[in-house]
Amino acid sequence: QELTFLSKQEILLAYKRFSELLPKEQRGNACSLRVPKSQILTLPELRANPFQHRICRVFSTSEDGDDSMSFEDFLDMLSVFSDSATSDIKSHYAFRIFDFDDDGTLDRKDLEKLVNCLTGQGEEARLSNAEMEQLIQNILEESDIDKDGTINLSEFQHVISRSPDFASSFKIVL
């Protein structure tokens, strides 16, 4: 319990929800098993989330890269998304979630994918090319301090620290 930001009841609730994802016969062994990604994505909290794949990728510690999550990964995820997590931790993980190509910085392609995730699936939901250009230009203008065309972690954390909505929107409650 010290290792996460969750309270005792939250951890117990998380255990209950996690074991529901496993098939019946394996439920007793929940702590040591890994749940495949497809099962995790059936959780209502993640089902509607456009970043579901990135979340699984970031929090999964599985060695074979199949993005399956163990109970500890699950707790980790809930802890970061809980109300009491510090904004440092949240911004760190947010950076990793938004970094679609895992290269350590947010460049134009990452930002473009991010905006497309936000506006939704489907052709009519996307912004036009001109609007996308204008938007990315504005974002980089606001946050890229060293003007290298990408946003690195410190710039990201700096921007997030001045963003009033981040704390209230970057949370998941079971």
Binding site: Q9, H92, A94, N152, K171
Partner: protein, 704 residues
């Protein structure tokens, strides 16, 4: 790209890049967070790991708690176990364990306290289904319920309870009633008939809805508290003073609590407003509400995000266009705006005038004015009863109509004024707030024009004693009627408009009906509605001490009604409302309502002569007069101190000192802002220097 990734590093020339301290720290964090990536063999790596983990040099306190590091749980466990193994002296170990158990105890207490929070589960589920914008509306409603409940407890325990105890002689108490000092019998002739004799059943219903008849003589209204002091066993309880002080107390309580709640929102709003140019980053990085679990709500959120981004980009383009406007265009737009503002003022005056006339009509034709006659008049047929009720409720009806029509007119007018979308929204909102709050003011003003003495006939008592022997009760009744009517309208709209509409839309697939669709849940409209109700409650509590209880019950029921209505019959707003700014906005408007409530109360307490026939202030000229009277009873030293505080010799220097302090803080804030700007510039310059130097070095190394 000068900062190269590990995979694309060429040979020797740029090896030094790996040694740059900033790069090292990025690597350290990524390696530690990644866990499975193999750590590059860099000498500062070991030092980094040490600096990363909790420090225990010399047995000092641990750095940050382990969970604040962005590592996976397995690694955190390893780190904390390692830290535990390190050598700690016995004292430090005991300190650590005791602080751990103390923190655990605190956490347990907090957890159990959170169970007591009202509606915790409901608001959580609303947050999950519909996002944080709507959740802020419901937590605002909960705040109002608690506030009203506290005000009720205050008024009840200090005003109603002593009166009731002494009137019924519980605990061997009694009360003292002085006879009024003026011997003018006409001022004191007041017989509130509480339904004597045989009356029709619907008289009770009418009395319940309008506050007259049997309700008038209960402790609901001011007229009941007609005692001067209560003698409870040994102490003498000065009721008039208590009444006045409790009024001030509940106003102060509301004021302080609202300010406390808005303090955090204010800081954020101030920072946010300064950084107008950060709005894009905020929308993109913090735009998705991770709480949403419902697919429909998610789809709506996608749409609203797309809409918001497009609107912002369009606004930016519009701003550029406005900057390019010609002189002729500007002239045309400004004259159009002036014309439309004149129309707005005309609409407002129309509203005010109609409320004024309606109040006058209602007062003249209701049974108030025929109170002097025998009550048989009011016992008529059923039609008479309905007509009478309608007349009584006329001001409330007119106010509600005005509150409904005026915002519609405003939202149509503003389209022609060619403002940027954000400003449009704000201006319409401000106009709606003004309409709602000013309507109450006009109602009170028209009541006072009646109560006030027009001719010399009633100069003897100072107010219009013929029609209103106990005018405070009358004002209380009007507030009571407003509150009840507001409540009924909210219920009626939900039952008779929303539910049928929903049934129609779900079962009838006719094109126009589907196009109409469900009505949106307009957050600002709903918030203005409840703020309007709360302002009425604040004003009315002085005249009707049990009004907060009614308001508490009303808001309690409204919570469930709105929740049901939202889930089943309405769709969430298409335009997004951000949680942080909306919380602050609600509280600011509430504060405006409270300040507006001060004005009528202040005038009633300090200016208008209190009625001589009823109420605790019978023997004083005005309600405020009880305070100087009490001060005269204090010892001379205290009197001098109080007189000194209230005199100009104290007030003027105090005011000047406050102004000085304010200017100091404003100057400090300006200086901080300048410092931040300078630091930002320096940062940009430093990074440019760094890039330049690295380029130079790479070139130099290439040549050698």
């Amino acid at each position: 790209e000068v900062f190269l990734h590990e995979e694309t590093l060429p040979a020797a020339p740029v090896d030094f890049l790996q040694e740059l301290p900033s790069y090292q720290s990025v690597l350290r964090r990524r390696a530690a967070a990644g866990g499975t990536q193999d750590r590059r063999g860099n000498p500062p790596g070991a030092a980094g790991a040490q600096a990363w983990g909790p420090q225990h040099e010399g047995g000092e306190l641990a750095a940050r708690p382990v969970r604040e590091y962005p590592l996976s749980i397995a690694e955190k466990r390893r780190d904390s176990q390692q830290a535990d193994i390190k050598y700690l002296s016995g004292w430090n170990q005991w300190k650590r364990t005791s602080s751990k158990s103390w923190k655990k105890v605190l956490k347990d207490i907090k957890e159990s306290l959170s169970y007591l929070e009202l509606w915790r589960h409901d608001i959580h589920s609303i947050e999950g289904k519909l996002g944080t914008g709507i959740q802020s509306y419901f937590s605002f409603l909960r705040f109002l319920v608690l506030l009203n409940f506290l005000i009720f407890i205050l008024m009840f325990s200090f005003v109603t309870l002593p009166t009731v105890i002494s009137e019924y002689g519980i605990f061997n108490s009694s009360f003292v009633k002085f006879s009024p000092k003026t011997t003018e019998s006409q001022c004191t002739a007041y017989t509130p008939s509480g339904n004597k004799g045989l009356v029709y059943f619907y008289t009770y219903l009418k009395d319940l809805l309008t506050g007259t008849g049997f309700l008038e003589v209960t402790s609901l209204f001011y007229g009941y508290y007609t005692i001067d002091a209560a003698l409870l066993s040994i102490l003498t309880y000065n009721l008039p003073l208590a009444y006045l002080l409790t009024t001030f107390a509940y106003l102060a309580l509301s004021f302080l609590w609202i300010i406390k709640r808005s303090a955090s929102g204010f800081k954020q709003s101030l920072v946010h407003d300064e950084d107008q140019f950060q709005s894009y980053c905020n929308k993109v990085f913090a735009g998705w509400d991770f709480c949403i679990t419902d697919l429909n709500a998610a789809w709506l959120k996608h749409r609203s995000l797309q809409y918001e981004l497009q609107t912002d980009l369009e606004e930016e383009r519009l701003k550029r266009k406005i900057a390019d406007r010609t002189m002729k265009e500007k002239l045309r737009i400004y004259s159009l705006r002036i014309f439309l503002n004149i129309i707005v003022i005309a609409v407002l005056s129309g509203c005010f005038y109609s409320i004024y006339r309606a109040t006058l009509f209602s007062q003249e034709n209701s049974s108030v004015s025929i109170r002097r006659e025998i009550r048989i008049d009011s016992v008529g047929s059923g039609m008479d009863f309905m007509a009478n009720l309608l007349v009584q409720y006329l001001p409330s009806i007119v106010i509600t109509l005005a509150n409904f029509i005026a915002p519609q007119i405003f939202s149509i007018l503003i389209r022609f004024e060619d403002y940027s979308p954000a400003f449009e929204i704000r201006l319409t909102l401000m106009r709606c707030v003004f309409v709602r709050l000013a309507n109450i003011g006009v109602l009170l003003f028209s009541l006072w024009s009646q109560i006030h003495c027009a001719d010399d006939q009633c100069k003897a008592c100072g107010y219009n004693y013929k029609l209103y022997p106990c005018w405070e009760s009358t004002v209380g009744q009007e507030m009571y009627k407003l509150l009840i009517f507001d409540f009924m309208i909210i219920l009626a709209v939900t039952l008779f408009i929303d539910f049928p509409r929903m049934l129609l839309v779900t079962h009838c697939s006719w094109k126009p009906v589907q196009w109409c669709g469900l009505q949106e849940f307009g957050i600002s409209d709903n918030v203005l509605e409840i703020i309007y109700g709360q302002t009425i409650c604040w004003i009315g509590t002085f005249f009707s001490p049990l009004l907060p209880a009614i308001a508490t019950i009303k808001y309690f029921i409204i919570f469930y009604v709105k929740k049901l209505s939202l889930i089943h019959t309405r769709k969430p707003p298409g335009r997004p409302i951000r949680a942080s700014s909306s919380n602050f906005f609600f509280l600011v408007v509430l504060l405006i309502g409270l300040t507006l409530a001060f004005i009528p109360l202040g005038i009633s307490i300090a200016r208008i002569p209190s009625s001589k026939t009823c109420g605790p202030f019978r023997n004083f000229n005005t309600s405020w007069a009880v305070v100087p009277y009490t001060i005269l009873g204090f010892p001379t030293g205290l009197q001098n101190v109080l007189n000194g505080i209230a005199s100009e010799a104290f007030a003027v220097p105090f005011f000047m000192v406050v102004c000085l302090i304010m200017f100091y803080f404003i100057a400090l804030a300006g200086a901080h802002k300048r410092v931040v700007e300078q630091l930002r510039e320096q940062l940009v310059m430093e990074s440019r220097d760094k890039l330049f130097l690295i380029r130079k070095i790479t070139e130099a190394q290439k040549h050698t």
